[in-house]
């Protein structure tokens, strides 16, 4: 596992990303029992870019996202074929330490899920789990993470009050702070703003654009305009298939596939 994220692949010309590759799905299929939910997905995602997964409900975009930190392992009867590589290494190889993988691949969910603890403890939780005990080190990382998630100024005077007292948008930014505190390489976001009002959504979107300087971000969203606003590349899925992948500007102005055109222009889905 130590070398899992070491090499950075250069995507050969003609492949589907212009950025340095970090994530690669190679002919990946996923089955829930006998049902094939993901069908032979091959996709390469760039490093330190925002990739949006879009598609109608049930298309497999969240399932594919969850492959990246092996969240699907927690579901019975799930079987995977093909490979899912990060930094050139298959994360489904037998020697992979899943705890270590999830440290490297953080996740933010649709509904904010702060622990019923203080704001400080929410951010420090993962660090403590990974053995950080020194208080000044913890203080430093908590502050840096809260600053990075644009929450510091709002909470610096009440760090030791309950996180559950924060607004929905603040809770979601706290979850982002918690995810980035353990310095992941990749952040997965599953509809992170779908339960927020437009102002809180705009803050999350600006935050995502700031975070991509340091992190590789993969986001599932049902909001086409959100995908257009924040992502560099977009993948469109339909009934378990990858229909089209490319630069977001191209997907939203001149998609190659009719199904993509129909979906992004609201004709179906």
């Amino acid at each position: 596992m130590a070398e899992l994220f070491m090499p950075k692949l250069n995507v050969p010309e003609g492949k589907n990303s212009e950025h340095t590759a970090l994530i690669e799905f190679a002919d990946l299929s996923l089955y829930y029992g006998a049902s094939k939910a993901l069908k032979n997905i091959s996709l390469t995602l760039g490093e330190k870019v925002v990739t949006a997964f879009i598609g109608p409900s049930g298309c497999g975009k969240s399932t594919l996202l969850r492959c990246l930190n092996r969240m699907n392992d927690l579901i019975d009867n799930v079987r995977i074929e093909g490979a899912c590589k990060i930094g050139g290494h298959d994360i489904y190889a037998k020697d992979v330490d899943v705890i270590e993988l999830r440290k490297r691949v953080g996740m933010v969910f649709q509904k904010s899920n702060p622990f019923p603890k203080s704001i400080y403890e929410n951010v420090a939780y993962g660090l403590r789990l990974h053995g950080v005990k020194n208080k000044s080190e913890l203080d430093g990382i908590v502050e840096k993470s809260l600053r990075s998630s644009a929450l510091w100024e709002e909470v610096k005077d009440r760090l030791h009050t309950s996180a559950l007292g924060l607004s929905g948008g603040q809770q979601q930014r706290l979850c982002i702070a918690r995810a980035i505190a353990i310095k992941p390489e990749i952040i997965l976001m599953d509809e992170p703003a779908s339960a927020l009002d437009p102002i809180a959504t705009a803050r999350i979107e600006d935050l995502i654009l700031d975070l991509k300087k340091e992190f590789t971000i993969v986001i599932v969203t049902h909001n086409m305009q959100q995908a257009a606003r924040i992502s560099d590349q977009t993948a469109f899925f339909y009934i378990g298939e990858l229909v089209e992948f490319g630069a977001t500007s191209k997907i939203f102005t001149n998609p190659s596939q009719k199904r993509t055109e129909d979906y992004v222009s609201g004709r179906f889905g």
């Binding site: 979107e205 600006d206 935050l207 700031d210 305009q225 257009a228 606003r229 500007s249 939203f252 102005t253």
Partner: protein, 216 residues
Amino acid sequence: MENHFEAGIENLRQKLLVMASHAEKSVNEAVQSLMQRNHDLALRVKADDDVIDKYEVEIDEMAIHLLTKAPLASNLRLVTVAMKISQNLERIGDEATKIAKRSRDLAQEPPVKINLDLPRMANLALAMVKDALDSFVQKDSVAARAIIPRDKEVDALNKQIHQQLAQHMMENPDTIARCLNWIVAAKSLERIADHAKNIAEEVVYLCEAQDIRHSH
């Protein structure tokens, strides 16, 4: 935390202002080349036109990119207005190029002995362009509305110059080719004033969300 969308909108606005300064400069130089029979200046206007054309394409690209992000309210108006203003600026650049071309031809011939009110017409058209762009920068719809009736004055001058030149051509058939160049140059100034008026109307829409085109 940076507001990335607002930054994109501001970039578009800045790009439009740079394009506007090029268009304004082109008209100034074209008019000077015509009045001063300056061949070099006329050549420079042609080169500037290529720059203006490039800005038009870039502004359209930026605007389309911003539109995919679903701008709303004043941001939506700004993006659509930016596309229309850039189109008008591109045409102002084209008209400046036409004037410069006629000025090159006229500079190679002896001057036509006729008193035309063309300097006044040029000053009026130039002031309309400048004021329309200022009203955009200041987001001043009152100033923009005040520009619109000034177009009639330019139209009247163009008509007067046209009549004078027609008369002169009948009386001096050897000057027909040169007079036609003056007619085209005056017509281009009249079109420049039209585009300035169009820009002013777009500024009113930008500020007040009211479409006043074809209402006066």
